[in-house]
């Protein structure tokens, strides 16, 4: 039997020109989340509790694309999704179309533990959240100034930005969408770029 181990991620497809300060900010958040997970593991919390604890922290911080700081839909709103899975018995829970639950990953866990299903979405998921007493907030809570600006960029470029953390036009994302005329399913090819 080996010891404990933990890994966290904040998304792939990083802009090569991401400013150094943003990189340091991301590393600080990742380190803080690792520390939270490590101290939970040292206190003998089971793995399923630790993954929920750490993802909640990542959802609450607006830096990455989840929870507060989520990417915006074409209407400027937030629709979140999450899933969780416990290895030993392969129990799992998932939610989609979440607009008012503060921590979607905890709702996914409630689906796993308190419902006969493994996946709830949109209004059904939100009704279930209220019944289970999950913490609810207005959709505005999830929307940040920065993402409002990024959505504007994406609309001007008529594309779906693969990663809203791209601050400059032209290097990729919005700018690339304007340059590349290649279409797929009626959308700029950048729509299918990595997240």
């Amino acid at each position: 039997m080996g010891g404990w181990a933990i890994a966290v991620h904040g998304g792939a497809g990083v802009d090569p020109n991401l400013p150094q300060e943003r990189q340091e900010e991301a590393k600080r958040l990742l380190s803080r989340c690792l520390e939270i997970g490590i101290s939970a593991l040292r206190s003998n919390l089971p793995a399923i509790d630790v993954v929920e604890l750490v993802v909640r922290e990542l959802e609450t911080d607006p830096l990455f694309n989840s929870g507060r700081g989520s990417a915006l839909t074409e209407n400027g709103t937030v629709e979140m999704e999450a899933s969780i899975m416990d290895g030993p018995k392969r129990r799992c829970g998932a939610v989609s179309g979440i607009t008012r639950v503060k921590n979607p990953v905890s709702l996914a866990r409630l689906v796993m533990e308190k419902s006969p299903h493994s996946y709830l979405a949109f209004s059904g998921a939100e009704e279930f959240a209220m019944k289970q007493g999950a913490e609810m907030v207005d959709n505005e809570y999830f929307i940040t100034e920065e993402n409002v600006g990024m959505l504007k960029l994406a609309k001007e470029a008529n594309s779906i930005l693969f990663d809203y953390r791209i601050p400059t036009i032209g290097t990729c994302g919005a700018g690339a969408a304007m340059e590349s005329p290649l279409q797929m399913n009626g959308l700029p090819i950048s729509v299918y770029a990595p997240e």
């Binding site: 039997m1 080996g2 010891g3 404990w4 181990a5 933990i6 890994a7 966290v8 991620h9 904040g10 998304g11 792939a12 497809g13 990083v14 090569p16 991401l18 991301a26 590393k27 380190s31 989340c33 690792l34 997970g37 490590i38 089971p46 630790v50 993954v51 750490v54 990455f64 694309n65 989840s66 989520s70 990417a71 915006l72 839909t73 209407n75 709103t77 937030v78 629709e79 979140m80 999704e81 999450a82 899933s83 969780i84 899975m85 416990d86 290895g87 030993p88 392969r90 799992c92 998932a94 179309g97 979607p104 979405a121 999830f142 990024m150 994406a154 609309k155 693969f162 990595p194 997240e195």
Partner: protein, 130 residues
């Protein structure tokens, strides 16, 4: 997208993933993160969380694939992660983090970078972007 994978002292694995999806996405769009077996998977062998181009991760059932090649091809965690990133994504771009029930931790990606951090009980700790 954010994710976490953990194996505890008892060798139990777990995985969780959460996301806001894509900027300017259509209402009602569902990506890979909530799909068990694509964006998230955990069993008695490993725990996996993926991020990147949702459509590619869904088509390749990427998270389950790591467990499958460990189970059926007998690969260890690092070999399994390298294999699925190299051979299962077609032209898609994605990244993943994974732990094994024996206490290993691994990550792989074919994008320019991936925000990630990992640590093990014997003191190893790494935070990276590129």
């Amino acid at each position: 997208t954010v994710g976490c994978v953990v194996v505890d002292k008892e060798g139990r694995c777990a995985a969780a993933t959460s996301t806001g999806g894509l900027m300017n996405k259509m209402m009602g769009r569902i990506g890979d993160s909530p799909l068990i077996g694509s964006g998230t998977y955990a069993c008695n062998l490993c725990g996996v969380s993926c991020t990147g181009e949702g459509e590619a991760i869904i088509r390749s059932t990427l998270a389950r694939e790591v467990a499958a090649v460990m189970e059926y091809k007998g690969l260890n965690l690092h070999e399994a992660v390298d294999y699925v990133i190299k051979h299962r994504l077609d032209e898609g771009k994605a990244g993943l983090i994974a732990v094994s029930s024996t206490g290993e931790v691994a990550c792989g990606f074919n994008t320019t970078g991936m925000f990630r951090g990992c640590a093990t009980e014997d003191g190893f700790m790494e935070v990276g972007v590129w």
